[in-house]
Amino acid sequence: MATHTIELETGGSVWKVLVKAGDTVSEGQELFILEVMKMEVPYTSPASGTVKEVSLAEGDVVEEDQVAAVIEG
């Protein structure tokens, strides 16, 4: 069991959040999508496992390096 912390590569706004805490996810599955400079930037799960935490809500303005989600798998 490893804990994967997903940090944002860029600032932007949160367009869609596709999972919630407790969900089971598979590696490569989209977790949330940011909007950055009119581009939709999907973030995928680095591993199969369980979503421990999602600290984003749709419409949030977010910043680089912010912790967005934690996956246990």
């Binding site: 590569e9 860029t10 950055v36 400079m37 009119k38 581009m39 939709e40 930037v41 999907p42």
Partner: protein, 515 residues
Amino acid sequence: MSWKPEVDEINQRRELALKQGGEAGIARQHEKGRLTIRERIDELVDKGSFDEIGKGAGASERGSNGELIDFTPANFVVGFAEIEGRRVIVGGEDFTLKGGSPSPAGLRKSVYTEDLALQYKLPLVRLHEGAGGSVGGSGGPSMPGPVFQPSRFKSVAQTLGTVPVASAALGAVAGLPAGRLVSSHFSVMSKSTAQILVAGPAVVERAMGEKLTKDELGGAQVHTRNGTVDNGAEDERAALAQIRAFLSYLPDNVWSLAPVTACDDPADRMDEALLDIVPRERRRAFDMRRLVNLIVDQNSFFEMGKGYGRSQITGLARMQGQTVGVWANDGRHLAGSMTADGARKAERFIKLCETFHLPMIAFVDEPGFMIGSKAEKEATIRHGARTVLTTALTNIPWASIMVRRSFGVAQAAHYGPEAYTLAWPSAESGPLPVEGGVAVAFHREIAAAEDPDAKRRELEEQLAARQSPFPRGEALAVHELIDPRETRPMLCRWIDRVQPGLDRLLGPSAFPYTP
């Protein structure tokens, strides 16, 4: 009578030289989790290959009968060595003696490092930990240098146009060593042990009133993100491994070509994942690094500068064993647009490839220069134009793959003279992306419409369709429209075609390489 007494003293001095700053100094270095300069060199080079120069340089203390009491070696270690069987010059400060701040003999050896690299035309590696001069002077009062003394920095500048220079920050690096650290083609800092500072916390607090630790001032979180160093590494050993990797892609000097390594990755490999790696949804970003890795020789991509200018991706790779420069846009970061720092990063990278005659492959997804007030304040247009013009003056072969967007003035930077140009079906090009362009060009029509939003979207769709790559193929505006899966086979054939011409480029490049 033989010369035995002198020979004995020579041997005694050599033994003392290896003691560096003494047991206590070495123990302090290890307590802080850092290696000594001699351990660093051993870690970097092929076992047993270090062939030192000036081991006997230093200062001695003699007794009343002229007998040797003690010998303090110069606090800079330099010599020849081999990395993967290839000869290099390697040197670095000895922090266990005077904190690396140069002793008179240390300064001479340090200055000689670049001269040696130039004389033998060998790659240069500098392993830095130390401060620059001290107001106390190096070793007491001495005469200032004469007016006819050559500039200290001339040889440093000349190495950059002559041989590959790689450097590492392994502890605190300040002043002159910091200046030399960045005067390199590739620099890496150990995240766990290094800081890079123009001046340390005490000087900064006195002059500026800022109270900060060494790490806050010049740790990896600062300098891997502003372009001061190219890369960060977890620790010293990882940093040295990056230097070995970097040098493996480069020739010994500008008069020779990069070594071509054996390649077991088939030239005709066509990865299925390339067919859908670019989403049909035009606004959906994709993973450009994955794309690059699917096309170049497997596991050959060595990224440089990942932490800054992040809308642009630069690094070295191999195609059929031949070193190539790879430059791509990262649409996940500011849409892949050319920012001021991204432009500077790309420009320096283009110059690296031009200096060492490395063919360039550009994977283009360029929406244009970054826009907005922050971009204007950063003089994006000046930095961007410099990159565009640098490309225009290169002599190296270019292959440019139109992966997706290719817009504005900025896109011109991605196509060198006579670039071999291939377009994917997802390629879009023009003076500016339709999203911005439609709003400006059709503002009256949009404003007059019953539903302006719908009208704008309709116009965007119409114009996007017109940006189809087929007309470019028909007009021979690209060499070929291709199936994305064909990219590797076609680039391997291109490399095979351009390789025979590379030796015509040998010699110093027309424009100088500067930090």
